[in-house]
Amino acid sequence: MDALLLARLQFAIVTVYHFFFVPLTLGLSVLVAIMETAYVRTGNEMYKRMTKFFGTLFLINFAIGVATGIVQEFQFGMNWSEYSRFVGDIFGVPLAIEALLAFFMESVFLGIWVFGWEKLSKKAHLAAIWLVALGSNLSAFWILVANSWMQEPVGFHLQNGRAEMTDFLAVATNTHLLHQFPHVIFSAMATAGITVVAVSAWHLLRKKTDHELFTQSFKMGLIYAFIGALLVGTSGHTQAQHMVEAQPMKMAAAEALWDTEQPAALSLFTIGDLAQTKDVFSIRMPTLLSFLSCNNFTCEVEGINNLQAQYEQQYGPGDYVPPVFISYWTFRLMVGIGSLMIALLLYSLYLVWRKKPLPSHSKFLLIMVWAFALPYLANSFGWIFTEVGRQPWIVFGLMKTEQGVSNTVPAGTVLLSLISYTLLYAALMVADAYLLVKYARKDPEPAADAEAPALSSPSITGVEGV
């Protein structure tokens, strides 16, 4: 294997792995802040225990997100130095701002939050977790500024053999970003909400547990996840419509739409012949893709073959088709899993709305326990789709991926680092899963510092000794 392929594989592995943990950090920071807000406003100790319980899960998850994030910043220079030279004038800016504005805020205030329960007033302590949440989500914004520029370069001109920034505001308000950032933030809400729901459901399935606390956290997670999941869908839809305009090839690949159609049919299931660029077997809903793309049933949607011909004229000879198989299936899996999430959340809402006691629906709760995996899968498929669908470009229309790789790093070196990261990440995944499961199954710590004698409180008489 050559250095290019290895570097790409490495980017895929470390990025998907990193983003396994990040959405939970983004979403759960806000949700834990909401829990603590409930505690500060009501003075109800249950919310404090809830905050600490989910806060611990947050911290275990946060550690890996932070640790693997360092690789993200370094690997552009290490594996993609030609890319870094070409885009540094623009791309380095959001990365530096991310560190200065966001990383400092989230890490300093997280330290204050973890170590400050006894040292700070209730309100100051609450402010700390809100600043962690703000910092985390700001960091998502700035890294997406960087990624959006790769998808849709704006605010630059080509000079001195590189892309130079001419308009910082244009870069920071890239249309692609305005679609992508909400999509990521809402998916993080869904991820964190469903994780809280799943953990709560597991506890509600047990006889001896704090039913009051976990019923409440189930509800909070549920509402949060539902809002998130629903808005992921709508923001994804507008994002896709923008993609039809800005990156039509990505959309065509996502739909395995070989030839331009007017109106275009939506593929439900396609087995394609990739070499011949045509369908072998396909179920398609007539005119629906047109409707999804531009809100009417008659518009034209460009196909892969037509776009290929157009790009050859524009950029010279070459293959401008991204891997269709991966694009098509990751897109479907992302949308399909997202829809399943919405359905499960709707049914949960129905149960809560009808005021059914949750523990009596043990089968459904068990489903919700396992549903924790869904957002992680959808997040991963989403990123694989948007990065693979941009190929062969590293910066759309400006630089091809093969031109961006470090030309002085031998393949063996990249292989060495690929193996090292993979092994280390796998080991950390095991340790992390072990701790997360261990703490997710633990009983929340009793309200030891509450004025009321803890064990006489009816809500926690069932708590096993901690």
């Binding site: 640790a67 290490m78 560190a99 990383f103 703490y439």
Partner: protein
């Protein structure tokens, strides 16, 4: 002063801040197995940097990001050139970050022992490798006419760079030790007091060797600084000597201030020695990366300057506040989070 110079100074400041802050928490990590006999001792040691280490590490990320934004060619050449060294550093830093969070979340002594070793290795390796990196930057590395690093990993492990690495480890260990003298209670404090002379002596000896060797191996002292190395280098030297005296007197607050001055002024000395180069080429001086040929466009530098002026003071305020809030000594009575 032009924007390129301002950004060179800002990056020097970021690295000074990084070595100042992360320097002592690397030192604390390095001292962990030597000062922590029992699990409780080790928990006390780790908790002295508990609220801080993550924020300290962001100084490195910010320095890296600033380098990317302001001097992309420097970032690209350095990171692709020092590939394996950085890989080792990343593996160490990843494990270290996770270790802090994970080690006390399980009671199994084997689990805790394992992560304690990871904290030690994860602190030692980056301290050493940053020294190696700085040593090589001062000495110059093989860079061709197209700004590509054409050396090898083993070429980076030359005696001068390795000595720089050891000097970094020793100075950070001393810096970490003075931090612990301020922040930890008995029985760790007693042990820390007992090793101050040894650690101080090791740091001084290695620093002196590094400077002497530097006169022969590099031109930063002879060319850039001259026989009189200038007040910045002299302050660094003086500070570490005064630190030794303060440690004997038991005035740990001032001793910590002096090791801090040593770290900052040593870093600044290195940057002054480099200026206006950022990465000297050992093949041909013409091929060196400078603050001009490695930099971003004036527009980008201007944008970044505005961002830095707005947000660096803010960061200093709230990070400083967190140090103030957690200034208490960690004793056996303290409730330990980690």
């Amino acid at each position: 002063m032009d924007l390129n110079t301002i950004w060179f100074i800002l990056i020097a400041v970021l690295f000074s801040g990084f070595f100042l802050l992360e320097g002592f928490d690397y030192g604390v990590g390095i001292l962990l197995p030597f000062l922590g006999k029992k699990d409780e001792d080790r928990r006390m040691i780790i908790n002295t940097i508990g609220p801080f280490w993550d924020g300290n590490e962001v100084w490195m990320l910010t320095a890296g990001g600033a380098m990317f934004a302001a001097f992309p060619e420097w970032y690209a050449t350095l990171f692709s050139g020092f590939y394996i060294a950085l890989l080792l550093m990343l593996l160490a830093l990843i494990t270290r970050a996770v270790a802090f969070e994970f080690r006390s979340k399980d009671d199994n002594p084997k689990w805790r022992k394992f992560w304690d070793w990871m904290i030690f290795i994860g602190s030692l390796v980056p301290a050493l490798l940053w020294g190696v990196a700085v040593g090589n930057l001062l000495r110059g590395v093989p860079i061709d006419a197209d700004m590509n690093f054409v050396g090898s990993f083993f070429g980076l492990l030359n005696p001068f760079a390795l000595l720089a690495g050891l000097a970094f480890v020793a100075v950070f260990t001393l810096h970490g030790l003075t931090f612990l003298l301020l922040k930890v209670g008995d029985p760790v404090l007693e042990r820390a007091k007992n090793i101050t002379t040894k650690v101080w002596l090791a740091a001084v000896v290695l620093l002196v060797l590094f400077v002497v060797y530097g006169y022969f191996a590099t031109d930063i002292f002879t060319k850039a600084l001259g026989p009189n190395p200038g007040s910045v280098a002299l302050i660094a030297a003086l500070a570490i000597l005064v630190a030794g005296w303060l440690l004997r007197e038991g005035r740990y607050g001032w001793a910590f201030a002096m090791t801090a001055v040593t770290v900052i002024f040593t870093t600044l000395t290195a940057f002054i020695g480099l200026f206006p180069l950022v990465m000297p080429s050992s093949l041909n001086p013409e091929w060196s990366l400078t603050i001009y040929n490695a930099s971003s466009s004036p527009y980008t530098l201007k944008v970044m300057t505005i961002v830095a002026v707005m947000f660096v003071p803010l960061v200093l305020i709230y990070q400083g506040w967190s140090y103030w809030k957690f200034r208490e000594r960690i004793t056996q009575e303290t409730h330990l989070e980690y």
